[in-house]
Amino acid sequence: MLNKKGQSEDVFEYILVSIAIVVGIIVLTMGHNYKEFSVDNAMQTISADSSDIQSFDMSFLGTDLKNILDLQVSDEYTFAELISRMPDNYPDINDKSLFEGLLDQALISNRLSCDEQLFNILNEKLDQVYSDNWIIFVYSDDEMIFFCSSILFDYSKVSSAKITLPSINPNNNVDVVLEVYE
C-alpha cells in the first residue's frame, strides 16, 4: 500500500490525466465539426488539393512560340526576323517586299496582319496542337502593331506565352504573344 505522499501523487495524476482527456476530446471534436480546424484543411497546406495536374501543353506554350519564331517564312526571313522588321514598317511602310506574301496592313488603323501565305505557314504548325484557336500578337511600346489569327469571335483564353525580341532598332524591343483559346 502506498504511503500518504504516494497517494497524493496519484490523485494529482488522476486530475492531470482527466484534464488531458477533456482537452483531447475538445480538440478532436473541433477537428471533426469545424472546417477551419479540420485535419484535412491543415493538410492542404502541405499537399495538393486534388490529383489533378496542370496541362503540360498549356504550361509550356513558350516552347511552341519559340519553335514558331524559328519557322522559315520566306527565302530571306524566319518569322522572328520578320517580326524584328515590323516596327520599321508601322505605321508607315518602308520595305514593300515584306508586303508581298507575308504582311498585310489594315486601311484605317495601319495595323499589320498576316497575309494568307504567312497565315498558312503558321497555321500548318499551330493547327496540329491548338486547332484554329490561336492568336499571335506583336506589341511595340505596349501598342499592338501586328496580329495573326483565324479566330473571329471572343473565346475564353486558356493560356498565353510571351517572348521579347530585339527589333532592327536596338532601342525598341518587341513583345511577341501567343494566346490559345477554347
Partner: protein
Amino acid sequence: MNKRAMIMLYFCVFGFIAASFLFFRYADDYKPTGDLYLGEKQIEVFQTYQEADADIYYIQHAALLSSQKASKENFKSEFESELNSYLKYLELTSNDFDITYSASTDKTTIVGISKKQLVYTETDYTYEIYPTFKVEVNYALDSSSEIFV
C-alpha cells in the same frame, strides 16, 4: 514506472496539447494562394528554364541582327557595337562575351560564350546560366580583316 520518471509523462501530455494547438493555429499561415496542383513546384522550375531560354533566344537573335547590320569592311567593331546596344536590355555588354571568329572559304562563324551569368532568383531556388550564341555570315572575312589583327 518509476515515480520520478512520471514527470516525463507530464511533458509529453502538455507537449502534445501545445503542438496540436500550434499546428492548427499556424497551418493557415503557410497556405499558398490559389489551388495547389500536383507537380506545381516542378512546373515552376521548368518555367524558370523557359524564362532563361527566352533570354538566350533574345541574345541569339540580337547577335543575328547585329551580324546582318555589320558591314564586311568593319565587321568586328560594328558587330560588337551593335550587339552592345542590344545587350543593354539584359544588363550585359559585348565585353561580357568571349567572341571567336572562324572564317572558312565562303562563310564566317561567330561564336560568343558569356563570362557573366544570367541569374534567376525564385522563392526557393536560384538558377544561373552562361548564355551563348552562334551566328554565321555568308562571306569569308579574309586575313586582312580586322578580326585577325
